[in-house]
């Protein structure tokens, strides 16, 4: 109960320190720092190609950084090993495509892969985790539907359910609200924010980021421009600088709201 324990309390659950990543001679990430506290929700925002997806892949240990270090609960993914990393950390990617005839239940069951042992059929714990994930995402009525009959939004929810069935401590999501209507966007983000897990979520929608994230990290051309609480970070100047668009940012008691303005005629 002394030194080391107190420090592990303060230690960020997920951390990227000065990470760089280059591919094909091009620098995709250039010395980015990110820290996510256990249970917190961090939003990654920035234009297309700013390096959000690559940063998530590095945090998940799916890519190795060219420089800098990534740690999950204080250890690098390489130290933890693939399987242990997958038990602690779940990823919901942007495009989930498959040709095989899997049911929603089967897809959600894939979340149990890191927990299952060879030769063993799924046990009670596996079935309960799958069921809980289906309930939490409202997919119980869809359990026996085939994957290729689902709409884009239903597929997204099924992937989230799969990630929940993994029972992770940390969750990485790459633009999870992409194919969803407004209602499902809000439901999904409240679900994610309410989960007792660390979330790092790449988002396009600045208002969603402002509503649901404890902290945002703004990426631009592979560099973290600024990070902090959404209310402090999101400003008209920043949006103009990062996205090159005009906007009004209104902060009242209820939160921070971004309203975009049409481009000025003639630029």
């Amino acid at each position: 109960m002394t030194g080391p324990d107190t420090r592990s309390e303060d230690r960020p659950a997920l951390r990227a320190e000065r990470v760089t990543r280059s591919a094909g001679g091009r620098l995709i990430l250039d010395g980015v720092d990110l820290e996510a506290r256990a249970g917190g929700t961090v939003g990654l925002i920035g234009p297309n190609g700013s390096g959000k997806s690559t940063l998530l892949r590095l945090l998940a240990g799916l890519l190795a950084p060219s420089g800098g270090t990534v740690t999950v609960d204080g250890s690098t993914p390489a130290e933890l090993g693939r399987r242990e990393t997958a038990r602690r950390l779940a990823v919901v990617g942007q495009h989930a495509a498959t040709d095989t005839d899997l049911t929603v239940r089967d897809v959600v069951g894939l979340g149990r892969v890191p927990h299952r042992r060879a030769w063993a059929a799924p046990g009670a714990a596996d079935r309960e985790a799958v069921w809980a994930a289906l309930e939490r995402t409202g997919l119980v009525p869809f359990a026996d539907r085939l994957w290729h009959t689902l709409s884009g939004g239903e597929r997204q929810r099924a992937q989230i359910a799969r990630a929940l069935a993994q029972e992770p401590r940390h969750l990485l999501l790459d633009e999870p609200t992409n194919h969803l209507d407004v209602q499902h966007q809000l439901e999904l983000m409240s679900l994610v924010a309410a989960l007792p897990v660390t979330c790092v979520v790449a988002l396009h929608d600045l208002n969603l980021a402002a509503m649901f994230c404890d902290e945002v990290v703004v990426l631009r051309a592979g560099r973290a421009v600024v990070s902090g609480a959404p209310g402090e970070v999101l400003s008209e100047g920043l949006i103009a600088e990062v996205y090159g668009v005009r906007a009004r940012v209104v902060a009242d008691g209820g939160g921070t709201f971004v309203r975009f303005l049409a481009p000025e005629a003639g630029g």
Partner: protein, 352 residues
Amino acid sequence: MTATAARPAPKEGRARRRPGAWTLGILALVLLASVSVAITIGPARVSVPDVWAVVASRFGGGESGLTPLREGIVWELRLPRTVLAAVCGAGLAVCGVVMQSLLRNPLADPFVLGVSSGASTGAVAVVVLGLGGGALSISTGAFLGALVSFGLVLLLSHSLGGTTDRVVLSGVAGMQLFSALTSFVVMFAADAEQTRGILFWLLGSLSGATWTDVWACLAVLVVALVVCGARAVQLDAFAFGAESAAALGVSVARTRLILLSVTALLTAALVSAAGAIGFVGLVLPHAARALVGTLHGRLLPVAALSGAVFLVWVDTLARTVLAPQEIPVGVVTSLIGVPAFVLIMYRTRRPS
């Protein structure tokens, strides 16, 4: 994301699906019955009790009560041939399942990595060019050729980046190269008799089955089944691609290398015993999937058993339809396989 008001207990979801064990038990019985019955079919009359009497006398000692000639027909000719058919059918179907899942390509089959063309080049090198100076059998030549070809394809795909499509493309390149080599040697060096023998072997035939072939193939099949079975769950994880498998805790490169190697080894063993029997490895996995779904814990054993049953009957057809002439079993598998394939593709078509 709301919880449903009427919440059915998890048990309900559990009870609905468990056809796996039943399907497996029934298929195992069908296989046993198929082997017993298929052995009785042919010019010499043998009954099912005769077959079992011979097997019992061989394993348990004692007399089978049959004449030595008929006992020889059962034990030396029909039994090894039928069992080899079952082993080949099972092995090819399992290799097909693993290749299709691992490469995420419904057209992948056990020969997609050039194993069969390498085997044919090896066989031709032994038979026509006299490689090994008579010390090598056609099977050994085929086996070595298959391994050389698989090694080259693996090396090529690795140097091209190792992604799934590169593996398939490397396999196609290897296949073309070794087919061309085989044709070249056959065209310029083989006499008519050799050409006929080679062709028969290339099309796949179980007519030369011996107990040595059976035991060798069975041993490799058992090893392959154990290795693939232990990785059934990892194979499921490949449904959404390699990166998603990695995110689910699968060591993608290692799993891929182990599974590709073990299936290539099995295919090489089967091809060197019975030639390149086509279509079983392509069609049976799709049929098995239609039966029990995509999860490999059930799919692998079901594919193995149905592949075994399928090839036992196809080989029986191949040796009886035009008797005393024999049709290469590979020709019959394709003649039956093509319509079956079209039917499966038609049944699983999706509205666009």
